[in-house]
């Protein structure tokens, strides 16, 4: 029996998903077709694949594991500044990679804070470089994401259940057994799978903190194939491996986590009668403090280190900042053009389209950039298209996260108001304007903020297409470093950080403002 689709049409979603697939897979194909006979995958590549899987698995397990106590503490404690803290905890996720690595080294490096303290205590120093360093960095990046996903799980448990538990005299262990463990079983695998997928394509972080070629990931192997050997076939083959691995993880994540989102509604702390003991209070406070310290300290040190450099920033850096802002806003607009139709189609039961949207996690920037170059070159000057191309690629990279955020609320709107809209003959563009956008405003703001911030901080493909006039802020920051201007580069990092945060905050706040009903 055919249930008639109400206010929603699916073909725009199909087109958007097809565009994403063409961009990710088409560029891969372009690279593969351009390849001459190469040597295929050797032992070095297989060992890179093994290391990639190992570090991604560890990173996912540890991030998700540590996120449990942090999310639990945040879920059952109410305190002043809780909302701000949760926003701040999201910071590492939108941080430009190089800035984050600088911050981590300032804390955990040989001359970092931790070792300074250890030395002062007369204890042996610790080295951050190695597999544990890679995992540490990935936990730093992804703990906030895991925490938000799991916190959402806690908030989704209806307050009435906790009231009932209190009425029945449940202690923390009983609550865990009957309420929290089932929730975690539902939420944790999805969270871990998403983080696993993100960590698969890590490269610069893994190499720098991995301490050497032992930490060779698939993305680095792609890099080597491309620029050391100019073996485009092998680059394409490795990119395929990466897409298959991420694709598997993404489908797994989608299937395991079902409808859970890491979207809006974080500001509600549940009253928890079972957790009102002094010991649990101390435990929760400790977890929150530790997580905040771990996540905020590196960022604070980057700020501290860079402030003097701000004054030295030449005009060109400010100009690049302007360029980056425009590119980030363009990316955000493009992301919406792709995400909204896919969300609508997914909300009407075409969940597979969302899986296509997740391809963005799998894409190798180097392969996309090169593929686009091969495709664009015969028809247009790639340099003239540097900004649009960067905006498109950044939009596609952010799409998976935007979809995770936006699909559940869109589904709620379609399910809640689809029939009413249909009887009112409210459809198409007016429906999007009058019903959809206002109803998903919070998630929309969050997704836009995330996209803008990620686009702001991403070096992305611009490096492959840049000429002197077309520099983005991250590229200009690299150029400063490359010209020995370490202090000015640190200043540029502060500017980058401020702009990324600013964009995220503005969008997120814009989405929450005037929230009613």
């Amino acid at each position: 029996m055919a249930e008639r689709a109400d206010a929603v049409t699916c073909w725009p979603g199909r087109i958007a998903a097809a565009l994403v697939a063409v961009l990710v897979l088409g560029t891969l194909l372009a690279v593969a077709l351009r390849a001459e006979a190469g040597r295929g995958l050797g032992p070095a590549e297989w060992s890179a694949i093994r290391f990639t899987l190992l570090q991604a698995t560890l990173s996912a397990l540890i991030s998700a594991g540590l996120a449990i106590p942090v999310a639990r503490a945040l879920a059952r404690r109410r305190f002043f500044g809780r909302r701000l803290l949760i926003t701040l905890l999201g910071a590492p996720f939108i941080l430009p990679v190089i800035v984050a690595v600088m911050g981590l080294i300032a804390v955990f490096g040989r001359s970092g804070l931790v070792n300074v303290v250890l030395r002062w205590l007369g204890w042996p120093e610790v080295s951050v470089y190695g597999l544990h360093g890679v995992v540490l960095a990935h936990v730093f990046f992804n703990l906030p994401l895991a925490t938000r996903l799991i916190l959402q799980g806690w908030q989704d448990i209806p307050a009435e259940r906790f009231r009932l538990a209190a009425q029945l005299g449940f202690g923390p262990r009983d609550v865990f057994r009957t309420l929290e463990r089932p929730m975690l079983a539902r939420v944790l695998p999805g969270a871990a799978a998403v983080i696993f997928a993100i960590c698969l394509s890590s490269f610069a972080v893994a190499l720098t903190l991995g301490g050497g070629p032992k930490a060779t990931t698939v993305e680095l192997a792609i890099y080597q194939a491309f620029r050391f050997d100019f073996d485009l076939g092998r680059a394409a083959l490795l990119a395929c491996v990466q897409i298959v691995l991420v694709g598997m993880a993404a489908v797994l994540a989608l299937r395991l986590s079902g409808r859970d989102s890491f979207g809006a509604g974080m500001d509600r702390a549940l009253r928890r009668w079972d957790a009102e003991t002094r010991a649990l209070r101390i435990v929760d406070t400790l977890w929150i403090a530790l997580a905040a310290l771990f996540l905020v300290l590196p960022i604070a040190l980057v700020l501290l280190d860079g402030l003097p450099g701000l004054a030295q920033l030449p005009l060109s850096v400010w100009r690049a900042a302007g360029v980056s802002l425009i590119v980030a806003l363009g990316s955000t607009a493009l992301m919406l053009c792709l995400a909204l139709p896919i969300c609508l189609a997914a909300a009407s039961g075409r969940g597979r389209l969302e899986a296509v949207g997740l391809l963005g996690i799998a894409a190798s920037p180097l392969v996309i950039g090169t593929g686009l170059f091969i495709v664009i070159y015969p028809i247009a000057d790639p340099f003239r298209l540097a900004f649009p191309v960067t905006a498109v690629v950044n939009a596609v990279m952010a799409l998976p996260f935007a979809l995770r955020i936006m699909v559940p609320p869109v589904r709620d709107v379609v399910q809640g108001y689809g029939r009413l809209s249909a009887t009112l003959n409210l459809r198409g563009v007016p429906w999007v304007r009058i019903v959809l956008l206002p109803r998903i405003r919070g998630s929309l703001g969050f997704a836009c903020g995330l996209t803008a911030a990620m686009s702001m901080g991403d070096l992305g493909v611009i490096a492959l297409f840049a000429d002197p006039e077309t520099a983005t802020l991250p590229l200009q920051m690299y150029r400063l470093m490359g010209a020995y201007r370490i202090e000015a580069a640190a200043g540029a990092a502060v500017l980058l950080l401020a702009l990324s945060f600013g964009l995220f905050w503005l969008f997120d706040k814009g989405g929450r403002g005037h929230a009613d009903a």
Binding site: M1, D6, L420, A422, N425, L426, P430, P438, R439, D516
Partner: protein, 230 residues
Amino acid sequence: MLTLEGISIVQGDFRLSADFSVEDSTRVAVIGPSGAGKSTLLSLIAGFLEPVAGRVLWNDEDITATAPGARPAAMLFQDNNLFPHLSAAQNVGLGLRPDLRLSGEDTRRVEEALARVGLAGYGARKPSALSGGQQSRVALARVLVQDRPLVLLDEPFSALGPALKAEMLDLLAELLDETGATLLMVSHDPEDARRVAQRTILVADGAALAPQDTAPLLDNPPPALKAYLG
């Protein structure tokens, strides 16, 4: 006149057949055990379901394949009848112009409708600033401006208290007397049927039976209805 001609609905194990007409300007209750298919029947008429066999006719015109918004019907659901982010006036205005580009005349009609349901001056309020009864009145005001010859109600007042529900049904009956529209109203309370509906459709055992006069049916129920009424 609404005609269901040889209708057969299949959803997995669930089946429902219907073959009857409803005279114009009649108020009809739809009652029966839960799960029997009362809401399904309304979904069919509203256009959310396609039958596997049969036709839905309005004044002898086949509307089986017509989109919900293009049918001669206005419908209210159990919940979500108002958009929480729009004002009362905007919610009513949607009944006139789905894109909310209201002319001066449209705005005047919206105000009139709000006044007619007793909410003059409440137009700027969001639903969250209205009581449950007031929210129902806004929805009724929209039905009024939609001015469709067929009104479908899928228990929109079930969350209201008995007194408030009776008040809404009375208001509804008044409005229908003015517009002359036909009403099909799902209810699990036979008192609702007695209160407003001249005729009643019994949905039970996989069939929606033709409308019968309400009072005799309820006074002298057939076995399936008797089991339900207890």
